[in-house]
Symmetry: C2
């Protein structure tokens, strides 16, 4: 077990820099906070190093790259205030959709990593096998996203790319179901179950883009009151995923 | 129209202090950010004053208590970074359940104001008529809660109190439906519609308390995969409210 006490240690400076997206992308490393996420990363062979001050979960006692650090170093790297904190430095995941995936969720320009995390958590809960993400959506190595997935981050593949092209490639086999608030949308409760399928939800403000809407086999709406504009996107995606549940 | 330029003006000091819960409770005043929420507050007669720098929505031009302030004052009071920002200082609402309410949602110890806001937004969307809240839940005048309700805050009554007593009083007339992950819970899809009803969801970590569970006419579960512990509480509440939708 190593021990580092200097805030200016090069390894510590590198790890702290991973709070910055540019540095994450250069080093292909990211940070997770707390024993639950560190253990999930360990289980999924994503760990590069584990930093702790006092507390260490039993399962990690024999992990080869343990680094004992000071409270000051912990505070420099983590934005979670908790003396029992533990940090994992993780390698970027290989993200591959399983062949034969029958239930997928796609995000078209979703901005808030917390909404994204809620959606991935629900996706795993309802038996979905992967998440697709347009290039203009949030960064998937953002700490807030990873934390709000509650471990689903390590269990499901997340494919970022040109969403129109990704959906076009899937459309030969999958039904594309787009959530939108337009007049021609079909109330969810009247939609028949059809799989394999991809459910698509759009940006928090503007909904899905026109290019995505033209790819839809079905446009669905969750009926709501006239007294409010829309549902939270994480709620809307979760309700539709639950309706087409794979559990 | 007044104009204030001094950061040490007594009115400004009072308004800035409202970011603190203790001060809110003493003065029975709270802060809302952005033109959407300020206009909702105006529509619901909750406004005490409106602070702005340059931009002012047309609807507020004749509002009697407009105060033009500097960017520095705006930054001192608001935690939203936006040059177009506008702030409403609002009076605490009278919170009264409508008689004959058929659809209510209750939160037992929910901690995160963002989760609470998502739930209130969904409640309004699905035609629910009020929110009940245990004393150990989040503060409803917290800015993050109000912002995430997307205006539902002003449209629906929110009753905070001893949740066991509140539910006991309703139980003579209403079915109490409690969401929980226990073995004896009934899958949501097999529950029959029954109204008037109150749906209860519990704390993010521990779920509903035993005292609340003993009041349940029905304990329901949303079936999920074994690969994850639970759904986000805002998602779970929204799925159940949508299942028993009043729209």
């Amino acid at each position: 077990m190593k021990e580092i006490t200097s805030l200016t240690n090069e390894t510590i400076k590198l790890y702290a820099s991973l709070n910055n997206k540019k540095e994450r992308e250069e080093h292909h490393l990211f940070i997770v906070d707390g024993d639950h996420l560190v253990l999930e990363a360990y289980k999924h062979h994503c760990l590069e190093a584990v930093l702790f001050t006092d507390y260490l979960p039993q399962e990690l006692k024999d992990y080869p790259n343990l680094i004992k650090v000071t409270d000051g170093i912990m505070a420099k790297i983590s934005n979670v205030v908790d003396p029992k904190n533990i940090i994992g430095i993780c390698k970027y995941k290989e993200q591959v959709l399983p062949s034969g995936a029958t239930h997928l969720i796609a995000l078209d320009g979703v901005q808030d990593p917390g909404n994204g995390g809620t959606i991935l958590r629900s996706a795993l809960a309802f038996g979905y096998q992967g998440l697709l993400l347009s290039n203009d959506s949030f960064d998937i190595y953002n700490t807030k996203f990873i934390r709000s997935t509650m471990g689903a981050f390590f269990a499901l593949p997340i494919i970022r790319g040109d969403l129109v092209k990704l959906l076009l490639a899937l459309k030969t086999n999958h039904k594309i179901i787009v959530a939108d608030l337009v007049d021609e949308a079909k109330p969810l409760a009247s939609c028949k179950f059809a799989e394999p399928l991809v459910i698509v939800v759009g940006n928090e403000g503007r909904g899905p883009t026109r290019a995505i809407r033209t790819l839809a086999d079905e446009i669905v709406i969750i009926p709501i009151s006239n007294n409010i504009d829309s549902l939270n996107v994480g709620v809307a995606a979760s309700i539709i995923m639950n309706y087409f549940s794979n559990i």
